[in-house]
């Protein structure tokens, strides 16, 4: 799945990291350059384009009226979907979502859902019958590592700039007022910070080359107040409790930096 990395490149990356250096000149706890543009797709109720280094994602948020789940009749629904477009990397294939794509969508979904970014109670139109369903579609355009952090940042931005029509109920019928659009009920902000373990050390925001040589990966989702809302470990090597507790502290600082892009 990952591309084959020449042994000499692998060793040079590990040696650099052992000397607290990285191939692209960053320090171990430094993100690449980040850019975030809001409302880039006018036809989508909410949208954002995120770039972290050369990684580029486009996210659209689209509302639709649907039935609620039977166990949560008073809550709106959030659906996260991701496509690793074959244009983004020579290793991505067209066809149904593969495991990487499903993992990305599910981790982002957990981070946003458990982070309670959107107040789903306020998206109920008729209890038990009609609610707003918000689709988040993550379109990966260019893949150079660390999709998770970019996807969560873009999804939260797209939710924050999304506008939905006002829905009122008259005689059990829903009337949508397209003239009067209002923003989604945003509760909280949640962001994700991903680390890769390479040669015994952890680096933040791994590039594609670093992801190809990493032993293990850990993504930590955090809310504005520093509470943890999602985590995902990837890769084959184990990780210790002490390492993890240390990373949580770094993640708090780093998600604080990412928050500034949402202002």
């Amino acid at each position: 799945m990952n591309s084959i990395v020449p042994e000499i490149t692998r060793r040079s990356i590990i040696n650099l990291i052992n000397n607290e250096e990285r191939a692209d000149g960053r320090s171990l706890n430094e993100y690449r350059e980040i850019s975030l543009e809001n409302g880039v797709i006018e036809k989508s109720e909410g949208s954002a384009r995120v770039k972290i280094g050369n990684t580029q994602l486009l996210i659209g948020a689209k509302p639709q009226i649907a039935e609620p789940f039977p166990d949560t009749p008073t809550m709106g629904v959030l659906m996260t979907n991701s496509e690793l477009l074959p244009m983004a990397s020579p290793t991505f294939e067209p066809g149904p979502p593969d495991e990487r794509s499903v993992e990305l969508a599910r981790v982002v979904d957990r981070c946003i859902r458990q982070g309670e970014v959107v107040d789903l109670e306020k998206l109920c139109i008729i209890e038990g019958e009609k609610v707003w369903m918000i689709f988040l579609d993550i379109h990966v355009l260019d893949y150079d590592g660390n999709l998770m952090d970019a996807a969560v940042l873009g999804c939260v931005a797209a939710l924050m700039n999304a506008k939905i029509p006002n829905a009122s109920v008259v005689d059990n019928e829903i009337i949508l007022d397209q003239e009067k659009m209002s923003p989604l009920p945003i509760n909280e902000k949640a962001l994700m910070c991903t680390f890769a373990k390479i040669g015994g050390k952890f680096v933040v925001d791994p590039s594609l080359l670093e992801e190809d040589v990493m032993d293990t990966r850990i993504s930590i989702g955090m809310r504005e107040d520093g509470s943890i809302c999602a985590m995902q470990k990837g890769g084959t090597e184990p990780i210790t409790k002490d390492e993890l507790m240390n990373l949580i502290n770094i993640a708090r600082e780093k998600t604080g930096e990412l928050l500034k892009y949402l202002e």
Partner: protein, 234 residues
Amino acid sequence: MIIIIINNNKRADGRDFNELRPLKIEAGVLERADGSAYLELGGNKVLVAVYGPREFYIRRMQRPDRAIIRCRYNMAPFSVEDRKRPGPDRRSVEISKITSEALKPAVFLEKFPRSTIDVFIEILQAEGGTRCAGITAASVALADAGLPMKDLIVSCAAGKANGQVVLDLSEIEDKEGEADLPVAIMPRTGEITLLQMDGHLTPEEFEKALDLAIEGCNKINQKQKEAIKKRYGE
């Protein structure tokens, strides 16, 4: 029902019958792809990436004497008013097929036996005429990938809306209009590499629409060349 109001023969969006929507083309916008292009035509936003020539792992589909071009036209779920379900449908499969056929004549495929050239067309926002926009951007991306080409394929639609033969149909004109005629040409020779039509036209109207589409193609071709020059210098 939407009524298209025409004052002084102007169209609903204020254009003349032979006027294109605002057009912007940029070459080399993606890092990983071998070639790429971004195009905006009115509200259409199209991104194209080209990979290849690269090894074609489906042995039975390899051609011993040339490369093949595979196209994938795909609309983003958020590109249209009501969310589109992700994945291919009958429409996108057809467009993918005719797009690869439209691009083939321009590329020297015999230089790359047994390989494949993959063209990925992503419609990020759709506003009528996406297949033409996709083909126009795809040939810029093919050139950006450094492939030897005879010409830059360029595509544009004409049609009939509100009783008038017009160039580059907008979304409303496409839906409410009487006919739609997407065309792709090789501008140096004027040869047609893609032609579709639906609707009703008299032979005279058809000729007028075809001439108009070719005129539009030639205008767009200038922008394609500018985009490549801007990326690689004169």
